[in-house]
């Protein structure tokens, strides 16, 4: 039962253009959403997050949009740079219980930005 889904395994974008990575979730108990970026042989690094009470959060070239009614979030990277090439994971935090803070991850999307 995949509660967080990233349906696009890969995305290829030209340098300078917009990259849009998508994520869908099923559990309405998720209260916080995060994007992590991962380079080969390294652990995931935190990129940007959004609370379920907001619909947009922006940090430099990165913007995350949340559509709660559709249970959908997206990460926009503008402009895309070759150094952005990595695997991007969407993650959701489950509210309540004794692991407030444990994350459920999607399968990841490989982003390739071509010079």
């Amino acid at each position: 039962d995949q509660q967080v889904k990233q349906n696009s395994p890969s995305l290829s974008v030209q340098e300078g253009r917009i990259s849009i990575l998508n994520c869908d979730y099923t559990n309405s108990m998720f209260d916080y959403f995060l994007w992590y970026k991962k380079y080969p042989a390294e652990g995931p690094t935190f990129l940007i997050s959004i609370s379920s009470i907001k619909d947009k959060n922006e940090d430099g070239r990165f913007t995350v949009f949340l559509n709660k009614s559709a249970k959908h979030l997206s990460l926009h990277i503008v402009p895309s740079q070759p150094g952005d090439s990595a695997v991007y994971f969407c993650a959701a935090r489950f509210a309540g219980g004794t692991s407030y803070g444990k994350l459920t991850f999607g399968q990841g999307t490989i982003l390739t930005v071509h010079p």
């Binding site: 995060l34 992590y36 042989a41 652990g43 995931p44 609370s51 994971f89 993650a91 994350l103 990841g108």
Partner: protein, 116 residues
């Protein structure tokens, strides 16, 4: 300062052997998580510590998996009688504060376990 440190980086074990994976979290971080990442998948939650207390072990796949954090700092994930399906990258993550915070997780580079 130093990030989350995991050792060894790579471990090859024969089926049936026991292994121990170590995690040194960022100094002062209260929360510590272990995740398992299979090839081509996202990380999956295994267990969570707040200081030395193991508050959630619901993700441990079997009773062959055991984790401890006796002094609230370094943690060890032990896998007994390893099986081929245990082959994965094991990620440790820590965060500054505990329950109810939005403090992001800081991940180590993982230990890649291969069971032959």
């Amino acid at each position: 300062g130093a990030g989350v440190s995991q050792s060894p980086r790579y471990k090859v074990a024969k089926r049936g052997q026991d292994v121990a994976l170590r995690c040194d979290p960022i100094s002062g971080h209260v929360s510590l998580f272990w995740y398992q990442q299979a090839l081509g998948q996202g990380p999956e939650f295994l267990t969570y510590f707040q200081n030395e207390a193991q508050l959630d072990k619901s993700g441990l796949p079997s009773d062959r998996f055991f984790a401890e954090r006796p002094e609230g700092s370094v943690s060890t994930l032990k896998i007994q009688r390893t099986q081929q399906e245990d082959s994965a990258v094991y990620l440790c993550a820590s965060s500054l504060v505990g329950l109810g915070s939005n403090s992001p997780l800081h991940f180590g580079n993982g230990t890649r376990l291969t069971v032959t």
